[in-house]
């Protein structure tokens, strides 16, 4: 049994932690999310230079690690509420490529991703599909050796910054069939791709992405035609584990901020942290955080096991962390009182990010249902 990180992993943490500390204080972040582009391409280039974008890839793909490295990076992202698209580009698109891409695709796209020249978004959600990854109205019809894509992808995080999209589409079968799902790489400037860009309530950017008779060559297919669902599920599970890591980073700072506030804020002539009702709340926040860390580790460790084990543990983690995210976020605002409601303090931004993480890659209810399906009977 060993919960230690390797020296290399500790170096990744030191590097990313320093970068976030130096580059992501709250005022800087506010400036970034209110800027026209909403992110910092130069910070992305810096992440590439530091090797962070290569961290979850194998040596043969030009990287040096795996899921644990992604976890460490996202935990530090969570502490600073960094908005850059590590999960969409590196974890989701990178995951699809490393698990499903052929040698040519890996060389071209993972190479471009690691260098920072290509930025990816993961277009998997649809307006009416909720969290069902196979419920797809977007279609890709074979046309000789090409495919023609039509459809609408919803709330594609990071799409305004992307050069490329990884897109899930139905190549055969009925709307929710498990078979008949495929995965494609599409350049965002391909003819027939249009986007409607917007900000999100937690400070990121996203797009609605529309495909109208978008023609891609057969080389754009990642993995096997019609059999993309297992690959998509694996990628989304890895992304779920990564967003769990982001959550624990955000929870840690939220808890520390709340305890500190309760020391400073005085009412009735004494720091409010001396009131037992608030002490117990903060003790609960700490326990929720520690349970979340455990579940994040568990999910990350199990990512490379068989599908059923991976799914069960990722869902367990997302259930627990979704619940903790809500409790911690709400408790932090409550303990801060009126000040917690203002845009001025950082705690509100942590609360908002934690609130959206609750539903990202599947809500508590969704993962509870999946956990039941995998464990009952």
């Amino acid at each position: 049994m060993d919960f230690d990180f390797t020296d290399e992993q500790n170096m990744v943490r030191d590097g990313i932690s320093r970068l976030i500390r130096e580059e992501y204080d709250f005022d800087t972040r506010r400036g970034v999310i209110e800027s026209e582009s909403g992110w910092r391409p130069e910070l992305w280039a810096q992440l590439a230079e530091l090797g962070m974008l290569a961290a979850p890839f194998s040596e043969e793909d030009g990287g040096f690690g795996g899921a644990t490295e992604a976890m460490i990076i996202m935990e530090e992202f969570g502490k600073g509420l960094a908005v850059e698209p590590f999960i969409p580009s590196v974890v989701c698109a990178g995951g699809a490529l490393k698990h499903g891409g052929n040698a040519t695709q890996r060389e071209e796209y993972i190479g471009g991703l690691i260098s920072g020249e290509m930025v990816f978004a993961f277009a998997y959600a649809e307006p009416r599909g909720r969290y069902d990854l196979a419920n797809l109205e977007t279609t890709a019809k074979a046309d000789g050796s090409d495919y023609i894509l039509n459809g609408h992808k919803a709330v594609v995080i990071g799409a305004p910054w992307a050069t490329h999209l990884v897109v899930t589409a139905r190549t055969s079968g009925g709307q929710s069939d498990k078979d008949g799902v495929s995965l494609f790489i599409v350049a965002k400037d391909a003819q027939g791709v249009s986007t409607r860009d917007y900000a999100t309530v937690d400070g990121r950017r996203a797009s609605e992405v529309y495909f109208e008779n978008v023609k891609v060559s057969g080389d754009a297919l990642i993995g096997e035609a019609d059999n993309g669902l297992p690959l998509i599920e694996k990628v989304v599970d890895e992304a779920t584990a990564a967003v769990c890591a982001e959550a624990i980073g955000a929870m840690k700072v939220t808890n520390e901020t709340t305890v500190e506030y309760s020391r400073q804020r005085k009412q009735f002539g004494t720091p409010i942290g001396s009131f037992q009702v608030l002490q117990h709340r903060m003790a609960d926040m700490l326990m929720e955080y520690e349970q979340s860390v455990s579940m994040c580790y568990l999910a990350t460790i199990k990512l490379d096991e068989d599908d059923a084990t991976r799914k069960k543990n990722v869902s367990a983690a997302k259930v627990r962390i979704g619940q903790a995210a809500r409790f911690i976020g709400q408790s932090a605002i409550q303990t801060h009182g009126g000040m917690g409601m203002t845009d001025e303090l950082a705690v509100g931004s942590y609360f908002k990010r934690l609130s959206i993480i609750e539903g990202e890659f599947g809500s508590v209810d969704h993962h509870m249902r999946r956990h039941i399906a995998l464990t009952a009977g």
């Binding site: 009412q267 605002i333 409601m341 509100g348």
Partner: protein
């Protein structure tokens, strides 16, 4: 024990429903997020009710009240919630109005009550300060007597919709040497156009601006604006807070909220079927409805007590705690129900004058900001921790 409404009460319901249906202006928006509504829209229904004589139902008839029983007032609230009307704001009607007719002198009543009834004068509440929230009695804003005037200096905060206010009622310290902090406070009416007042908007986590800081620098106010006696303001403030809490359960509005949630859950799909047919989600909605019916009966029991002559007591704390928990739960479930489309920030779309959200279903676009915004309800009006302290002290006697 009888929960049936009487024939008179049923007739009353028909009458007010008819009036609302025929007179509620069709062109004003709903108050999902307050700062999006114009001042005129927020006052429109108030002004119509003022003309009808129904804007201040709870007031004594001599001051313009309707003489309705508590049950009739309850029906009135329900019917307005059914139509989702923008009701008269509480600051004049439910807060300072009752203080003025209870503790004010004849000149003050004559000067201020008509404007509150008609909706022509907008009031705001100057209570909380940066250092005085839950511990309101520690407030530091001072009013110093200077001839026929008071000179007010200090800073108030969380002043709701002060950006529109014509008048404000302020708690000020008039005796710093009083043996207890509660004993040196006075209740003073302030014309918000007086020189030395600066209203600074506070941006909240939902992106809106519904509360403000109010800075007062050498604000000169006639001493005739003092309500009641100097240094007795805490008594009036507590009287007002009890009034504030009695309406805070929000049962009728939450009922409507549950209906809206059900509509959303019927429109959203899970595995190709309406979300509302999912046992897990259906259970959550039922739990909420059950909690809400308990609260409704509890409120009716309180009303019955009031009808029998008992004023709102510490049990109003129960209504506040449970009412706000239900309001917040509604917003949680709504955000869960809308799925992916809870994430876009509707404020980031250019205002093209249309009320339609350019992406996703219309019901989704306020889900997250409303969830964020409603966290305030367990903080304002005496935080829910303070309410539990009141219950512990006043009811349990601990």
């Amino acid at each position: 024990m009888n929960l049936e409404f009487t024939e008179e009460e049923k007739a009353f319901r028909a009458e007010v429903r008819d009036f609302i249906d025929n007179n509620y202006p069709k062109d004003i928006g709903t108050r999902g997020v307050q700062d999006e509504m114009s001042r005129e829209d927020m006052l429109a229904w108030h002004k119509i009710l003022g003309k009808k004589g129904w804007s201040v139902p709870a007031w004594p008839t001599e001051y313009g009240g309707t003489g309705w029983t508590p049950t009739q007032r309850y029906i009135w609230g329900e019917e307005n919630a059914r139509k989702n009307t923008v009701m008269p704001l509480p600051f004049g009607v439910s807060m300072v109005g009752p203080v003025i007719y209870t503790f004010g002198n004849e000149e003050q009543k004559a000067e201020h009550l008509p404007g509150i009834r008609s909706g022509d004068v907008w009031w705001c509440q100057g209570y909380s300060e940066p250092g005085a929230g839950s511990d309101l009695a520690s407030l530091k804003t001072t009013a110093v007597r200077d001839g026929d005037d008071y000179i007010i200096n200090g800073q108030k905060t969380w002043t709701t919709l002060a950006q529109h206010a014509d008048w404000g009622f302020f708690l000020c310290r008039t005796d710093s040497d009083a043996p207890k902090p509660q004993m040196g406070i006075s209740f003073i009416l302030v014309d918000m156009n007086t020189p030395g007042i600066e209203v600074r908007p506070i941006k909240l986590i939902d992106g809106g601006y519904e509360v403000n800081e109010v800075w007062l620098t050498d604000v000169r106010v006639p001493a005739t604006n003092l309500i009641g006696e100097e240094n007795k303001g805490w008594t009036y403030a507590k009287f007002l807070l009890a009034h504030e809490r009695s309406g805070i359960a929000g049962v009728a509005r939450s009922k409507r909220g549950v209906e809206q949630l059900k509509e959303i859950a019927a429109a959203e799909l899970l595995d190709g079927k309406p979300l509302i047919e999912d046992m897990g989600f259906a259970q959550k909605i039922s739990q909420l409805e059950i909690d809400l019916s308990a609260l409704e009966i509890t409120e009716l029991r309180t009303l019955a007590g009031e009808q029998a002559g008992k004023g709102p007591g510490p049990e109003s704390s129960l209504l506040k705690v449970k009412g706000t928990e239900i309001q917040q739960r509604l917003t949680e479930l709504t955000l869960e129900a809308v799925g992916h489309y809870g994430t876009p920030d509707f404020r980031s779309f250019p205002d093209d004058g249309s009320n339609d959200f350019p992406i996703g279903p219309d019901y989704a676009h306020h889900a997250a900001p409303t969830y964020f915004n409603m966290r305030k309800t367990s903080i304002y009006g005496g935080s829910n921790e303070i309410q539990r302290n009141i219950i512990t002290k006043m009811i349990l006697g601990l």
